[in-house]
Symmetry: D3
Subunit: 143 residues, 6 copies
């Protein structure tokens, strides 16, 4: 069972739609790397993420604009203590047009609702993410 599409070929369309959104938000380079490094072990995970999160949820942007989804995700990931994903989604937030001020506001709110250690950790990660994504976007712009 190497791919979800072996048994569920009808998922292909949602996957393609999701892949497009995922690349726009997470950055084409990151997504291409994640997919090209996928093995028998984690290919189906990559497909599920692309279908379920990106194809079925992040595409619902007529109801909830991606910018707001990004801010909500930053709050959620800081609460869940998932630093790696938090970093990726801070970058995604910037790509989606969130300002640094907005990201800061979410994380200050995290301080009151998740506790100060959660906020300190998240601020450190976000600071690094913002610096990195600016470089990435400036490189992308030059191509």
């Amino acid at each position: 069972m190497g791919s979800l599409f072996d048994k569920n070929p009808e998922l292909r369309r949602i996957y393609e739609k999701g892949l497009e959104v995922r690349k726009k938000v997470m950055g084409e380079e990151y997504v291409n790397k994640a997919l090209s490094e996928a093995t028998e072990f984690d290919r189906e995970l990559q497909e599920m993420i692309t279908i379920f999160a990106w194809g079925m949820i992040w595409t619902r942007d007529e109801v909830m604009p991606r910018k707001i989804r990004s801010l909500i995700n930053i709050g959620i990931l800081a609460a869940l203590n998932r630093g790696n994903e938090l970093k990726l989604h801070v970058k995604g937030a910037i790509r989606n047009g969130c300002t640094e001020e907005e990201i800061k506001e979410v994380l200050i709110q995290v301080g009151a609702y998740c506790g100060l250690p959660a906020a300190m950790e998240a601020f450190k990660i976000a600071k690094e993410a913002i610096r990195e994504v600016k470089e990435e976007m400036s490189k992308e712009g030059k191509r």
Copy 2:
């Protein structure tokens, strides 16, 4: 040490500002009840919440509108598995002008990022909160 103001009288102004916002978002009846039932044991907690969360964070609404803060809080509280507070903040979201559709979108996102059990629990709580807050707001309107 019965009140924060005994030692920190300068906090009074921020407390007053916070109290006003807290009542607007959480409902006057709920806040009055929380404060009037406070004893020696939990009065300082009530003061801290009003000062820190409401006076120092929820007042920063020129940067982040309260409606967005409500949506972010719903995501955070669902992630933290704090059902009682989640219920209060779903009600607050409706008072802040969020639509049921927006709340639903946050909770669907919770499904992907916090797992399906977190979403199921949160949807159940939100459904109840929305029904109740509508009744509360209709009563308030009649007065």
Copy 3:
């Protein structure tokens, strides 16, 4: 947007497959109730759960038998502190043929890895779930 199928009609087949497994594991009565009580607010959640968890994961039973999936889920839900879902999945485990002894072993393991309070809570919930599901199954048998 009342139903996932409005925009993604191709998901119907996986939904149907998932619905069948969900009913077998969670009990027909519970699933029918969950679906018939669904409103505009939570219908899409119910559809997502049926498609993603039941249609796409619980159907992979040639790789992982449902009995083992049930035991793993009990461990996960106890760790996540999600009591309501834990109760439903303890019932599901019994329906899937797990013995009380096996469930007990998972929860003892929870004691060592998630801490004793997690285990105490989970044992209490499981005890109740086992009593209830036996009654449910005996009623079902009589029809």
Copy 4:
């Protein structure tokens, strides 16, 4: 396998020591109830708790007085979102000689480090626990 002692009879002495401490801290009535209601399903859990937590840890009171252990446990259980156990251990704290003021201080600290929702929940639970344990202790005193 009905009891841990079937295979590990040497644990009996630590169990007896633990049982004595457990009763002193949690209240004799509560412990007797927990043990008398234990079935084949959860007897070994009760034994493990008594041996591991009470016999091997709460007995180390020359290094760490029980009063301090109680305060630490209140912080931990509030952080873990384990309300039922929190309630029992607030009662235990009072039995161990902690004052209401000390319990309040721990929970205010919880507000800063675990977030305000964790503190609000914990204060509510503690308030109830203190009221109940005072009644229990007054009844016990009368016997």
Copy 5:
């Protein structure tokens, strides 16, 4: 108080039994290192783990085979966000005879029940653990 056995010499037998199982599952090299590096500060922790988790739980293999315990532990540790222990227990799972396919199935289930970020993190850790443990086992085989 340098060792648990100073005050509880009767625990020695369970410790020895646990030590044997621990070495078989976690690898002799890892366990020897953990024990030889233990100081006054953490020796008793190492003893407790060996006695409680390994001597009292992992030895109950007539009720629950070690292979299943490994799979359950992978689910639990992914849910708890304990990456270091997750890595060690993925290695343990392979030593206990679990296949990569089985580990993958647990982690896909983690995606649905703990959320996609938990699954992504766990897949990354597991991939690394599997590569490393294969090398370790091949070295051990050559000796």
Copy 6:
């Protein structure tokens, strides 16, 4: 909005009091670094932490001595899985006069109440923190 004091100048006195305590507990070098590296993005976070946690809570030392607060915080941070903050607060505990034995006792209690993986992680972090803080304190003493 570069600083909390722009809009809330009255918070200055509590900030100053908090800053003094924070430096005594966390070490002057660490606090100076945190403040000097603060940018527009995280200056307000630093101010909030100093005011709320240090100025309003850690100053309440007539009710709860700092040494006990440190021990409680170690328990809380281990429970929350916040390793970076745990490390800083183990160092703070030593600066506040806690002994290694007392820290060890808290972490053994973590083993029973948060599970063994939480304890293993926390012991590793604490061991490193204790070694480092001793060096830091010996350097400070020489100046």
